[in-house]
């Protein structure tokens, strides 16, 4: 077991990684809205946290480096510096540098120190005529941490001598300095203002009560008054030290405050209290304390109450309602739930066979609970896809700069949730597709202008739910696919013959053929296809589908349909002789009967009449060469495959089944049309069919047979 120290360091790494990706997102957003103060603050906070906790866990190099960057952003935050492209470039580089420093500390290759030095000096050059402030980051960060917790409140009575303004001091500027220290309540007192004929206009007859809540110490307050020390009566007292117990939200009573300040004697206070009216009003009515004094005391009361309230509410909000769990523990849990689902299927089967009502009742209860458990467990692995999207923003930015194109990445549906593993495996194909869109899809600015399009191209990356799948679309407004060129290439490579008639979809699908890409790339024409076969394979490994539509001149849309989860799916269990197969339930449209008479009526063609419509079907018996025990009446399960209705003929439809997907062994991995296997309740294995690939392979064999 790792020591607590090691665990904390691991937590820091995790947090820092999260912060760094947040930082990247904020920086890229900042590029679009350079005036957005919220974003600037977010960048600053991320830096600050990386620095602060870095120093705490002994990542001194990271703390030091981040400090330099933070210093620059402090200037931006204070409006002393503008957000420029150059600044953002350097900050993004700095972010990468921190990432590599973090990796180096975890045993990765050491970070390039010279590069870090270059970034820092670049940043410092950007700073407006300010010498680099050398401070020791460790001290700063710990001091900051401590002060953030302790917000103290002080009561200040400031009574300058009348001649104070003659010396050139403006008391108002002192008040403004105090306001900069923290939240401040200022009340001026007028009772010393004399009658007009006695008034010396150049003298100051006002005096002030100030309640200041600040994270800075009493010294900071004294510093404000340092030049007028001898010209005023100054009285600073701590009235709330930040450590008051939380249940004591109410501050002192008004009377107590006045007595404490010496504006009211205790005897007078008791006299008034016994009158049972609103204390402040009575005081003024009776002329014991001037209205301004009461008001000032009330202001103090208000301020402290508010500060205390803030203190009690913030920790509750901060204690976020989530915990961190290592991914492998979750994976283990999902595996266990998978086993449990299998066992439960077994139990249900036994219960059904026994015909014992008690056992059936228990089995049903178990089934209900397990399906709930399954859904909850799978939900725990769901992550919003947005985390991947932000990476692509950077990709688009860097790549378009490299190629001299102007491209914006738009995203939508970043909150769409997908299984963690799916998101991870989706990353590479998406990078590939976006690269393709930028490289081959979007044209150079001048060509775009000539074609009457805005010079800035748009790549749109979107995600949305659709049934039990997520649709991820990559859309660009570039040149689109050149059908003629694809066709010519395909004929050249012998993929199709000269007189093959192909629809748009079939033509586009040609670019997924292995080896097609390389040829296209060598000619460096605008066709897509750099390793598109690899992309297709990766998507199919996720049991997803890929679909292209494109119009020449206006752009292309690539749609990926990805199942929500990889582990457990709803299926339809079917039987052929003694063999069981499962079909994805999401694709099933309906089931119909197929009699010998129907087959004869179709003259041997594989077509079934469904409500007057001809539906082609694939006979799985023929496909899998199962000859024994063909029943007189068979069943056709009609599925929606790639937008078409296609039937699959089986002996019998058993029913719905929750399928825990098991991968096939190495030998069977590449069997076309079978995507995996599952274990049924009684221990038999059922193969999971992939309808899309089955249809393709049948089409291919027929093509071979009939040319």
């Amino acid at each position: 077991m790792s020591t607590p120290q090691e665990q904390m360091i691991a937590t820091y790494r995790e947090e820092a990684t999260e912060l760094l990706s947040e930082l990247e997102t904020s920086l890229l957003e900042l590029e679009e809205n350079p005036q957005d103060n919220d974003l600037i603050n977010r960048v600053f906070r991320a830096m600050h946290t990386i620095k602060g906790s870095g120093a705490m866990f002994g990542f001194d190099d990271i703390a030091h480096f981040t400090h330099e960057v933070e210093t620059v952003f402090d200037q931006v935050r204070n409006g002393k510096m503008q957000v420029t492209r150059c600044l953002l470039d350097l900050t993004l580089q700095a972010r990468d540098q921190i990432t590599s420093m973090l990796e180096a500390s975890a045993g990765g290759p050491p970070a390039d120190e010279a590069n870090g030095q270059r970034i820092i000096s670049g940043l410092q050059e950007l700073q407006p005529q300010v010498a680099p402030i050398k401070t020791i980051p460790t001290e700063i960060s710990t001091a900051d941490k401590r002060n953030e917790v302790d917000k103290r409140s002080y009561r200040i009575r400031f009574k300058p001598i009348p001649e104070i303004m003659m010396g050139g001091t403006n008391p108002v500027s002192l008040l403004n300095e105090l306001r900069e220290l923290g939240s401040c309540e200022v009340v001026a007192h007028l009772d010393a203002v004399p009658a007009l004929e006695l008034l010396v206009p150049e003298h100051c007859f006002f005096y002030w009560d100030i309640v200041l809540s600040t994270t800075r110490g009493i010294e900071a307050i004294k510093d404000v008054f340092i030049f007028v020390e001898d010209d005023c009566e100054l009285n600073i007292s701590l009235i709330d030290d930040g450590s008051a117990p939380d249940d004591n939200l109410d501050y002192k009573k008004l009377g107590d405050i006045l007595v404490e300040r010496g504006d009211l004697s205790p005897v007078e206070m008791h006299k008034i209290v016994s009158m049972q009216k609103r204390f402040g009003e009575i005081l003024v009515e009776q002329g014991i304390v001037p209205a301004s004094k009461v008001q000032s005391a009330l202001a103090e009361q208000q301020q402290i109450r508010q500060i205390r309230q803030e203190r009690t509410t913030t920790p509750a909000a901060e204690a976020a309602l989530s915990i961190r769990v290592p991914a492998e523990r979750l994976d283990h849990l999902v595996n266990l739930v998978g086993e449990l689902v299998t066992v439960q299927a077994h139990l249900t089967q036994i219960a059904g066979n026994r015909n014992d009502n008690e056992i059936i009742a228990v089995a049903e209860e178990v089934e209900r609970l397990i399906s709930e458990l399954r859904d909850t467990t799978l939900n725990m692995r769901m992550l919003p896809i947005g985390s991947t999207f932000s990476k692509f923003k950077r990709l688009v930015r860097d790549l378009s700069a490299e190629l001299g194109k102007e491209i914006d990445l738009e995203t939508s549906g970043a909150e769409t949730e997908l299984d963690k593993t799916v998101i991870e495996k989706l990353n590479d194909p998406l990078v590939h597709l976006i690269r393709n869109s930028i490289d081959h899809g979007i044209e150079m600015p001048d060509i775009r202008k000539a074609a009457g399009k805005p010079s800035k191209g748009i790549v749109h990356l979107g995600a949305e739910h659709s049934g039990d799948s997520v649709l991820v679309t990559i859309r660009d407004d570039g040149a689109g696919l050149d059908k003629e060129r694809i066709r010519a290439k395909a004929i050249e490579r012998g993929l199709i013959t000269n007189n093959t008639e192909l629809g748009d979809k079939e033509t586009f699908n040609l670019i997924f053929s292995p080896g097609f890409s390389t040829a296209q790339k060598v000619t460096s024409v605008s066709g897509r296809g750099v390793g598109m076969d690899v992309v297709k394979k990766a998507i199919e490994a996720l049991r997803g589908t890929i679909d292209i539509s494109s119009e020449q001149g206006t752009g292309s849309v690539i749609t990926l349909k990805i199942p929500l989860t990889l582990a457990i799916i709803e299926t339809l269990l079917v039987r052929i002789d003694h063999n069981f197969f499962v079909l994805p339930l999401s694709m099933v449209e309906e089931c119909i009967e197929l009699t010998r008479a129907d087959i004869q009526a179709a003259h041997g063609r594989h077509l079934a009449h469904v409500r007057g419509e001809l539906t082609p079907y694939i006979n799985l018996r023929d496909e899998f060469e199962i000859t024994a025990n063909q029943p007189d009446i068979e069943q056709v399960v009609i599925l929606a495959v790639g937008g078409k209705r296609i039937g699959f003929v089986v002996d019998d439809v058993v029913g719905e089944h929750q399928t825990v997907i098991k991968t096939l062994g190495r030998l069977y991995r590449d069997v076309r049309g079978i995507s995996g296997a599952t274990i049924l309740g009684d221990g038999t294995v059922a193969l999971i069919l992939d309808p899309g690939l089955l249809v393709q392979s049948v089409a291919l064999t027929e093509q071979e047979q009939f040319g």
Binding site: M165, V172, V186, L196, E197, P201, E202, F205, Q295
Partner: protein
Amino acid sequence: MSELNISNTVAGNGTSLKITIAGKLTIENAAELQTNLLGNCNKMENIQLDISAVDEIDLAGMQLICSACRTNLDAKRQFNFTGCISEAVKSAISAVGLQRQITCKHNADLPCLWCGGIN
């Protein structure tokens, strides 16, 4: 405008005075207004002060108006404000910490500068 302009208008058989001040009311010229006020208010029953055209005021200016207000009120003369206060004056008043909810003891019920009494 950087100078102080004071203009007095007498009405109602010489018992009402309207004082209009404009420009800068600061420590440099507060004495000028003080002299004016001291010289003209004594014979009046009703005094109106219009500071809507004042675009800069400092502590000395505020102090002077306050003193004039309470002096005249104590002498049982009506002392009133008219016109809108400019934003610059309003923010100067809040910077000094003079915004009030209730009038002072010299003032029974009349509008008070610190209560935002003139609108």
